[in-house]
């Protein structure tokens, strides 16, 4: 009897313990199959990895440019002497070259890109739209270095022999078209950038114009509007999205490396003339990174990469928010 009671007690205690552990596992799994538990955590791990990658990149560049950040501080961004030999690094002419070449490129690419987008989404019949979209996207798939190769041997001679003399003769007093026509310089870089960002602007703008519901067009037609007036209404409805597309193009232009490096002439200077050579942040990295002999030089270059990273991230965040807001506007509230 006694023995029996002990056995029963033992049995119940064992059972208690095992239910305890099993409730612990149950709590952990939340009533899930263990495979599901592992699978969800595994995919989550990789999603976290992608998330951390962006932060990690910023940290990695910050920690490797600390020498230059400490030595030059804010002066890095606002002084204009870039002299690796004496280890003085002021990135202003480089930042200037980056921004001016990108903005000039956009000045050419934006009207064209929006024009292409309007043609593809509003005018072109279906059989023409598909091959044309494919061709413009093909333009986006050509590697940057091939644009650069073409730039050196075709675009630059053309700019030197035709475009620059023409501009100089047409506007002899303009400060923008002064000096010797080398071909290599700001103008060639702007042209090649405009070719490279055109497909991005046109394909995203096309998607955005297409996301405007047809009821908007039909309402305008019903009031007797011409096709162009209808298009104006569609563009007005998609304004913020189109701005986002332009910003995405700007982000791409600012970070574009190879083609620009090969045609811009690579000289850190601030000059009003578009004929003069210039330099961009990405080209400095491409040209000088392997030649950086001292730690400070390398740190200054990595700081330049960090500045480029921050600028493009900010532009991209703004652009994506704009594009998303337009596309969501019609999804949540189909007019």
């Amino acid at each position: 009897m006694n023995e029996n009671a002990e056995l029963t007690k033992e049995y119940f205690e064992k059972r208690k313990r095992s239910t305890k552990t099993s409730t612990f596992i149950k709590k952990l799994l939340g009533n899930k199959n263990p495979g599901d538990f592992i699978f969800e955590r595994l995919t989550l791990l990789f999603a976290v990895l992608v998330f951390l990658l962006v932060l990690f990149m910023a940290w990695e560049m910050y920690s490797h440019s600390i020498l230059s950040i400490k030595k030059f501080g804010f002066h890095f961004l606002v002084t204009s002497v870039w002299d690796p030999f004496n280890e003085v690094f002021g990135a202003l002419p480089i930042i200037y070259g980056t921004i001016v070449s990108s903005v000039l490129g956009l000045l050419i690419a934006v009207p064209l890109g929006i024009g292409v987008a309007v043609f593809l989404s509003e005018i072109a019949p279906g059989w023409l739209e598909k091959p044309l979209s494919f061709l413009t996207e093909l333009l986006a798939g050509v590697p940057s270095v091939i644009y650069g190769l073409w730039g050196i041997f075709v675009l630059v001679p053309w700019v030197r022999d035709s475009v620059e003399p023409f501009l100089q003769n047409s506007f002899p007093n303009s400060p923008f078209f002064q000096g010797a026509a080398y071909g290599f310089g700001m103008l060639a870089a702007a042209i090649i950038l405009s070719i490279m960002v055109l497909p991005i602007i046109s394909s995203i703008s096309r998607d955005i114009l297409k996301s405007v519901p047809n009821t908007q067009r039909e309402a305008a037609y019903a009031l007797g509007a011409t096709k162009w007036e209808v298009t104006k209404i569609v563009i007005g409805n998609a304004k913020s999205g189109l701005l986002g597309a332009i910003m995405l193009g700007l982000g791409r232009a600012i970070g574009e490396t190879m083609a620009v490096t090969m045609v811009i002439g690579n000289r850190p200077q601030i000059s009003a003339s578009l004929f003069d050579p210039s330099y961009t942040m990405a080209s400095v990295l491409a040209n000088e990174f392997t030649e950086a002999t001292s730690d400070l030089y390398l740190n200054a270059l990595i700081e330049l990469a960090l500045v480029l990273f921050i600028i493009t991230i900010l532009i991209n965040i703004l652009a994506r928010l704009l594009v998303w807001s337009t596309e969501r506007k019609w999804k949540s509230n189909p007019a």
Partner: protein
């Protein structure tokens, strides 16, 4: 009354004229956009084909001044670099894309989705700098592995987002059918959902790989380049794109000529990849 109607006529006339002008401008810009495409392809093909021969695919580069030679090391190098990038980037992309579509309907999911889009806008040269500080500095020398890491980071956004979009196309009834049979969710996802969406995911992978094959900037100070035959991933490695850059900026005529041939071979390599991409996408919606 008469004056008013004639005014209306004038304004209608003007509106119609504006309409025609603006629409033709839009058409012209579409034509103009194609001009650079034609030019780039025309020059690459016509100049590249002149030196395209069997030697290009079988021989190593010759020293300066010595004509002939090929770029077999760069062709193999590009394939190896893209292979390393894919080996790292494809699993990360597929798994994080699976998370986003199957479990990511929360704030963290949208944050990752957003950051992936932002990551795709980071300049490739910046990714190269990160790969340099991450791999080259600790290892103390340039290596193909470092180049592969850079290419992987560049591929991840493309593959993640395509995987997510393609998995979303799989009808909900497939998931329900799997679960109704008592199959655990992870098995349903791997064996049914991923398998159904596989063709679409493969197109994303091919797109990522073909873009990586055309990258130059992130390789300049990671894989560096190599004039000799090398398949050691922990040593510097040649690639077609870096050769195009070096040979086109050098002051030697025969190098410049070979740069065009290398460009043609690179475009052929990428077109073969995108051709496969197109063929697969065509049957994507037959889910």
């Amino acid at each position: 009354m008469e004056i008013k109607s004639s005014l209306n006529k004038i304004s209608l006339y003007r509106r119609k004229i504006t309409n025609v002008i603006m629409l033709s401008l839009s058409f012209l810009s579409a034509l103009l956009a194609l001009v650079p495409l034609i030019f780039v392809f025309y020059y690459t093909i016509s100049k590249g084909i002149a030196h395209l021969d069997l030697n290009f695919f079988t021989k190593l580069p010759t020293p300066i001044g010595e004509p002939g030679g090929g770029m077999v090391n760069a062709i193999v190098g590009t394939l190896i670099l893209v292979g390393i990038g894919g080996a790292i980037g494809i699993p990360v992309g597929i798994l994080s894309g699976t998370y986003l579509s199957e479990f990511g309907h929360n704030k963290f999911g949208s944050l990752v989705r957003f950051l992936t889009d932002v990551l795709s806008g980071v300049p490739s040269i910046v990714v190269g700098v990160v790969a340099y500080t991450l791999v080259v500095l600790p290892m103390k020398h340039f290596s193909a592995f470092a180049g592969g890491v850079a290419l992987a980071i560049l591929m991840i956004p493309t593959i993640t987002r395509t995987t997510e979009e393609m998995i979303k196309l799989v009808p909900q009834s497939y998931r329900e059918a799997g679960l109704a049979l008592g199959i655990p969710k992870w098995k349903t996802t791997v064996l049914i959902i991923l398998k159904t969406a596989w063709k679409g995911i493969a197109t994303g992978i091919l797109l990522g790989l073909s873009r990586a094959a055309g990258e130059t900037a992130p390789l300049l100070f990671t894989a560096l380049g190599n004039r000799f035959w090398s398949t050691n991933v922990f040593q510097p490695m040649a690639s077609l794109t870096v050769y195009i850059y070096e040979y086109s900026t050098a002051p030697f005529k025969d190098w410049n000529d070979q740069a065009w041939t290398a460009a043609l071979v690179l475009i052929l390599l990428i077109s073969v990849l995108s051709l496969i991409f197109r063929i697969i996408t065509r049957s994507k919606y037959k889910v």
